[in-house]
Amino acid sequence: MERPIAYDKLAREDRLIRMRAREVAQLKIDQGLPPFPDLLSRDSIKERVHGIMVGELQAMEGAGRTVYDFPDAPWEFTMDMARQVWDESRHVEIYVRLLEHLDGYIGEFPETTILWRCACAEDAAARVAGVNRGLEGLACDVFNQLVHIARRMGDPILERAVDYVLADEITHVRMGSKWLTRLTEGDPERRRLAIEFQETIDERFNLGGIRREGPHELVPISIATEARREGGFTDEEIARLIRTTQRSAVY
């Protein structure tokens, strides 16, 4: 098997339609819609849940590739990544069931592979920085907000299930924080490049100002400060993320 594989080798059933994220966003903007689904209606929540479901699928596949792609990494690293595969596979099941709960189906919205592309970094340290801290950090933001909105809507199924997934994601962020440090010990250049990669991803997923600090009901994606802290982000890192969201161009 190739190590690593080209990002366009990601295999899917026919029922999923793959599109570039910016193309989907543009199609929506052209129709006068927000580029990223809000949480104001059951239908837009369904679209967001579908996006999370394919994200979990790609996260499972990405963690699996990390198990395969880095046979010379420390064994404990492989163990953490294998554990993440198991968690993500359960998350896929949870989100497919939540999609059913919301009267949706797999393939109802296009799949974007921006997350998978980020999971194809060639260096293990960059991959954990980008995926476990950048993308799983984003997952903490999104899930934390979704739990809050579900509670407000009076949907205990959504609230409870997503809250358990959030707990797992915090664990994955913690793994990322641990391995970013351990894999780059004594190699400041590797660490710098890994962090730079993570910041590129953070910037990308600020989604042109859609992610920002603020109340769950008013902000499209609110930054989960406390969950991020639990995952090992320092106060300085959180403050920096908030600053970058303030300078991100609006779509």
Binding site: M1, E2, I5, K9, L10, A11, R12, E13, D14, R15, L16, I17, M19, V24, L27, K28, Q31, L33, L57, M60, E61, G62, A63, G64, R65, T66, V67, Y68, D69, P71, W75, T78, M79, M81, A82, R83, V85, W86, E88, S89, R90, V92, E93, V96, R97, E100, G104, Y105, I106, G107, E108, F109, P110, W116
Partner: protein, 327 residues
């Protein structure tokens, strides 16, 4: 009568056997991890996803046992070069359309063999001085039984045609020969395996039947009558080679294009079917599969409402998945 302190393996031999187990299990863990992205079918993807962690824990338990046997921790060692060749052959099934081969390799060959090997080891291990090994064997046996049963359930779902059944049998026979030539994962000679029929029903933590249900949970596409009519008319026109009839559905700035036109004509398709249906706001994305002729073609079409009618705002040929729509 056998003396209670009689044993089959010296300490060093026990460590060596464990390194051989660990080699097979570690490689299986990594292979399953790598395969998920290359496997289109959700049921098989989730099956692998559930078992990567169990397998990693087995490799870890074997690796931790080694220092207790005066050996270095977490070391894998193949029994011989033929074991390496066997696992290389397992790993080779990486094309998207080879899901059947992937599942057969792990769930009809390697795991049933590991299960039989572990059971045989447990049956002969000394109950007085080998309990630490026996505990690991018992856990691995329980998990492997569950895995084999789950794998068999998914495999039965995947084997939809006689041709796939033939491929599965051929793959199993080929890999089994390689494993026999290696003398099994320990290189010890007699190679056995436990059949799936002897395995437990899968509990809910890796319920293969549920993975299959999730794969099939596409639901009903909400296609309006006007769009359904447009889709049918467009597909019919393509199959009939009626280019002007097909163009009637294109928005003014959209072209069928000579390359696509040539490809569609060469395909000589005899039927069409919608295989995916997605929404972007008011627009609809449709994958239309044309086949039955020389070569199948899958079109990705974006339909936009145009008053009470629908028009094609974009279309392109895309590569088809190796996985047919869930039955």
């Amino acid at each position: 009568m056998t003396h209670p302190l009689a044993g089959h393996l010296e300490v060093d031999e026990s460590a060596k056997t464990i390194r051989h187990y660990r080699y097979a299990v570690e490689r299986m863990t990594r292979i399953l991890g790598g395969w998920m992205a290359l496997t289109p079918e959700l049921s098989a993807k989730l099956l692998m996803g559930r078992h990567v962690w169990d397998n990693a824990q087995h490799a870890d338990a074997w690796g931790k046992r080694l220092p207790e046997l005066r050996a270095a921790a977490q070391v894998s060692e193949p029994a011989n070069p033929r074991v390496v060749a066997f696992l290389d052959a397992v790993e080779a099934a990486e094309r998207p359309e080879q899901t059947v081969e992937r599942v057969v390799a792990i769930y009809r060959v390697l795991k049933p063999h590991l299960l039989a090997t572990y059971k045989s080891h447990l049956a002969t291990a000394n109950a007085v001085y080998e309990p630490p090994t026996c505990r690991i064997l018992a856990r691995c046996i329980e998990d492997e039984r569950r895995h084999v049963a789950a794998g068999e359930t998914v495999l039965r779902h995947l084997l939809r045609t006689p041709e796939l059944e033939t491929r599965a049998r051929a793959c199993e026979a080929r890999l089994w020969l390689l494993l026999e030539a290696a003398g099994g994962v320990t290189g010890a000679g007699a190679v056995t395996r436990v059949s799936a029929a002897a395995a437990f029903p899968a509990p809910s933590s890796d319920d293969a039947a549920e993975f299959i249900r999730l794969e099939q949970s596409t639901g009903t596409w909400s296609i309006t009558p006007a769009l359904a009519q447009a889709l049918t008319a467009f597909g019919d026109a393509l199959i009939a080679g009626d280019t002007s009839g097909a163009r009637r559905w294109l928005a003014p700035d959209v072209e069928l294009g000579p390359a696509l036109d040539t490809r569609l004509r060469a395909a000589q398709s005899t039927r069409h079917a919608v295989v995916a249906f997605a929404r972007v706001g008011e627009q609809r994305l449709v994958k239309l599969r044309l086949d039955g002729g020389h070569d199948g073609v899958t079109l990705l079409i974006r339909w936009a409402p145009d008053g009470s009618d629908w028009r094609i705002a974009a279309l392109e040929a895309v590569s088809a998945s190796a996985a047919p729509p869930a039955a």
